[in-house]
C-alpha cells in the first residue's frame, strides 16, 4: 500500500515519453517473438549453432547482462552497505537497473535453452551440485529476488532492511561472478577460457560495465525527464567516473596480456584461439571492439571531459558497453572454434570451426537489449521522483 501511494502520487508521463516507451516495447516484442518461434520449432531450424559450436550469440547478452547486474549491484552497495556517502544518491536507480539487467539476462538464457520448461521442475528436484551452471543460475535467480526486495525496501524507506537484502545480494552475485571462470574454464579443456578469463578479470569487467551503465543511463534519464542533476548527484558521477577510469586502466593491462598471447604462443595455453582472436578472423572485433571501444576511446573521452562533463562521460560509457558486448561475444565464440582433434592430422579438418549468428539469434539479442531499455524507461516514468531524491 505504501508503495502504491508513493507511486500514484508521482506525476504522469508526457505523451512523448509514452511514445518512446511504446516504440521500445514494440521492438522488444518483435525480438522476443523470434524467441517464441524458436521455442516452438527448435534451434535446429532457427539457430546458427552446430554440434561443434553449441553455444552461439545468445550466451553473449546473458553474460553481458548478468555481469552488468553484478557490477551495478556492487556499486549500489558502496552507498547503501559500505556507507560511502558520495555514492548514496545513485543507490535507488542503480538497484533498479541491476534488477532490470538481471531480468534481461535470465530471459535471454531462457530463450537460449532448447527445453526451458524442464528447468522449472528439474532445476529444483534434480539439482547437480557439482555443476557451475546450476549454481550460477540459482545464484542469479536468488539475487534477482533479493534485489527486488532491496528496491522495495528502498521505496518504502526501510533502509536497514534494504541494507540487509543488498548485502546478501552483493555476496551472492560476487560468488556467481567468480563462478563464471570455472564455468567457462572447464568446457572442453579449452585453455582459452581458463587461461585468459580469470575471476578477477570477470569481476573488474562487471564493475567497469556497471560504472559505464551508470554514466550513460543517468545522463539518458536526465534527457528523458528533461531534468538536470544537482551537486550531490554530480559528485556521485565524478566518483563513478574515477572508478571507471581505474578499471579501464586495469582492463588495458588484461588486453596487453591477450595481445601477447596472440603474438607469442608461449604466453597462451591455447595459442590457436588467441591467434584467431588477435590476428585472425576475429581481429576486427578485438582491435575495434575490445581495444578501441572498450578501452582507448573511453579513456580518451574521460580525459577530454576532465572527468566532469556528464554528456562526454555518457558517450564513454556507451562506447565501453558496446565494446564489452563484443568482448563477451569473442569470449564465448572464439573458445569453441579450435577443432576438437586439431592435433591429430585429420584430413579435411578446417583450421577453425565456423559460426555465424542467425537472424533469430540476432533478433532475440535485440529483443533482450530492448527489454532492458524498455524497462529502464518504464522505471523512469514510474519512479523518476524517487530516483531524483
Amino acid at each position: 500500500m505504501n508503495i502504491y501511494t508513493k507511486t500514484t502520487n508521482l506525476p504522469l508521463p508526457s505523451m512523448n515519453q509514452i511514445l518512446v516507451f511504446i516504440v521500445l516495447a514494440l521492438i522488444c516484442g518483435i525480438g522476443l517473438s523470434f524467441g517464441l518461434h524458436t521455442m516452438i520449432v527448435g534451434h535446429h531450424h532457427t539457430f546458427g549453432t552446430t554440434r561443434e559450436v553449441p553455444w552461439g550469440l545468445l550466451i553473449t547478452p546473458y553474460v553481458f547482462f548478468a555481469c552488468l547486474a553484478t557490477g551495478l549491484c556492487i556499486i549500489s552497495t558502496l552507498g547503501q552497505v559500505f556507507g560511502l556517502t558520495t555514492f548514496k544518491p545513485l543507490v535507488t536507480r542503480t538497484v533498479f537497473l541491476a534488477i532490470v539487467a538481471m531480468a534481461a539476462g535470465l530471459m535471454c538464457i531462457t530463450l537460449e535453452l532448447e527445453s526451458p520448461w524442464r528447468v522449472v521442475f528439474y532445476a529444483w528436484f534434480s539439482p547437480q551440485p557439482f555443476s557451475n551452471i546450476w549454481w550460477k543460475t540459482a545464484i542469479y535467480s536468488c539475487s534477482l529476488v533479493l534485489m527486488i526486495c532491496n528496491f522495495m525496501m528502498l521505496l518504502t524507506r526501510r533502509h536497514k532492511a534494504a541494507k540487509g537484502f543488498a548485502l546478501v545480494a552483493f555476496l551472492l552475485l560476487t560468488a556467481g561472478n567468480l563462478n563464471m571462470n570455472s564455468d567457462m574454464g572447464l568446457l572442453g579443456e579449452r585453455g582459452f577460457w581458463s587461461d585468459n578469463y580469470m575471476p578477477i578479470y570477470f569481476l573488474s569487467l562487471s564493475i567497469m560495465t556497471g560504472c559505464a551503465a551508470i554514466l550513460l543511463l543517468n545522463w539518458l534519464a536526465y534527457k528523458f525527464n528533461n531534468d538536470s542533476s544537482n551537486a550531490e548527484h554530480d559528485r556521485a558521477y565524478h566518483a563513478t567516473a574515477k572508478l571507471f577510469l581505474v578499471l579501464l586502466l586495469g582492463l588495458a593491462y588484461f588486453s596487453i596480456v591477450k595481445i601477447m598471447g596472440g603474438y607469442f604462443p608461449r604466453f597462451a595455453k591455447n595459442p590457436e584461439a588467441m591467434a584467431l582472436l588477435v590476428k585472425g578472423d576475429f581481429a576486427l572485433n578485438f582491435w575495434i571492439g575490445e581495444i578501441c571501444l572498450t578501452v582507448l576511446l573511453p579513456i580518451t573521452l574521460y580525459f577530454l571531459a576532465k572527468g566532469k562533463k556528464l554528456a562526454v562521460l555518457a558517450l564513454a560509457g556507451l562506447s565501453c558497453l558496446i565494446g564489452t558486448f563484443v568482448l563477451y561475444y569473442d569470449l564465448v565464440i572464439v573458445g569453441q572454434l579450435v577443432p576438437h582433434f586439431h592435433q591429430y592430422h585429420v584430413v579435411d579438418l578446417p583450421q577453425y570451426y565456423a559460426y555465424t549468428p542467425s537472424l533469430h539469434e540476432i533478433m532475440i539479442s535485440v529483443g533482450s537489449i530492448f527489454f532492458f531499455l524498455t524497462a529502464f524507461i518504464f522505471g523512469e516514468m514510474l519512479f523518476k521522483k524517487i530516483f531524483a531524491n
Binding site: E114, A123, G188
Partner: protein
C-alpha cells in the same frame, strides 16, 4: 658442462613425433610410470608382480570401480572406413540423419620418411571415468551409471543448455530434435547390449574387420580384456590432456596379425 633446465622446457606433445618415435615413447612411458598420458593404464595392468623401472616399486594391481567395467579397444589400423558400424548404430539406436553417435575420422600422419601415413580413426563417447559432461550438467540429465560405468542420458531431464556438448573433448554428443534432448553413445545400453547379454554393441557386432572390440575389463574371457592384457600391445587414449580418463583404448594391431 651445460646445465639443462628441464623445468622450463615446453612439452611438445606426442602428436608431432613420427610414428616409430611415438611407439618408442609409449613403451618408455609405460615402462617407467605405468600410466600412459593420463588415460590410466593402471586399470589395464593387472599383473601384480610387474615392477616400475625407476624405483623398482611394484605396480598396483588393477582396481576396477565398476563390475562389469565396459570398455572398447579400437584396432585403428584395421579400419577401412566401410561405415557399417555407423549404419548399424543408426538402425539399432534410431539415430537421425543429421546426428551421429559415432564417426570415423580420416588421418594423414606425417611419417618419419617424409611421407603421409593414412589411417582411419573411429570416434565415439569415451565413457570417461572423469566425464566433464556429467560434471557440468545442471540437472543430472547425463550421469555415470554406477553399475557399469557407462555415461548415460536421462532425456526427460535434459533442458537443452548444451553445456555438455561444449564440455566434451571428443565431440561425441549431438542434440536430438525429436527428443528435445542430447543424444550420445551409451554402448547400446538399452538396445544391443541388452539383447546380447552384455557381449556386444551394434558397432562392434557390425564391424567386419574387428576394429571395434567390445569387452569387460573385469572379465578375462572378453576379447577386449585379452587384447589389453596381451604383452607387447601398446595403447593410447584420445586427448589425454583433457584428464577425463577414457575407457576407449586405441591400438595398432601388429602387421603380422592384421
Amino acid at each position: 658442462m651445460r646445465n639443462i633446465r628441464f623445468n622450463s622446457m615446453r612439452n611438445e606433445g606426442v602428436e608431432s613425433l613420427a610414428s616409430v618415435d611415438r611407439r618408442q615413447f609409449m613403451k618408455f612411458g609405460l615402462a617407467i610410470t605405468g600410466v600412459f598420458l593420463g588415460g590410466s593404464v593402471l586399470s589395464i595392468t593387472s599383473a601384480a608382480n610387474a615392477y616400475g623401472a625407476p624405483f623398482n616399486e611394484p605396480v598396483r594391481p588393477a582396481q576396477f570401480p565398476y563390475s562389469p567395467h565396459y570398455t572398447m579397444v579400437i584396432q585403428q589400423n584395421n579400419c577401412i572406413d566401410c561405415e557399417l558400424c555407423l549404419e548399424a548404430c543408426r538402425n539399432i539406436n534410431g539415430v537421425p540423419i543429421y546426428g551421429s553417435r559415432t564417426s570415423i575420422l580420416e588421418l594423414s600422419i606425417p611419417s618419419a620418411q617424409g611421407q603421409q601415413a593414412r589411417s582411419f580413426m573411429p570416434i565415439l563417447c569415451n565413457q570417461c571415468n572423469e566425464p566433464h559432461c556429467v560434471r557440468v550438467c545442471p540437472t543430472g540429465a547425463t550421469y555415470k551409471e554406477t553399475s557399469n560405468g557407462i555415461v548415460l542420458m536421462n532425456q526427460q531431464k535434459c533442458i537443452g543448455c548444451k553445456t555438455c556438448m561444449a564440455a566434451c573433448p571428443y565431440n561425441a554428443r549431438y542434440f536430438k530434435e525429436e527428443d528435445r534432448a542430447i543424444d550420445k553413445c551409451n554402448f547400446c545400453f538399452d538396445t544391443k547390449l541388452k539383447t546380447s547379454g552384455g557381449k556386444a554393441t551394434a558397432c562392434s557386432a557390425a564391424c567386419p574387420a574387428k576394429v571395434r572390440v567390445f569387452g569387460d575389463l573385469t572379465d578375462p574371457n572378453t576379447p577386449a580384456y585379452k587384447l589389453i592384457h596381451t604383452p607387447g600391445n601398446e595403447f593410447w587414449v584420445l586427448r589425454p590432456e583433457a584428464g577425463t580418463l577414457p575407457n576407449i583404448f586405441y591400438m595398432n594391431k601388429a602387421e603380422a596379425d592384421a
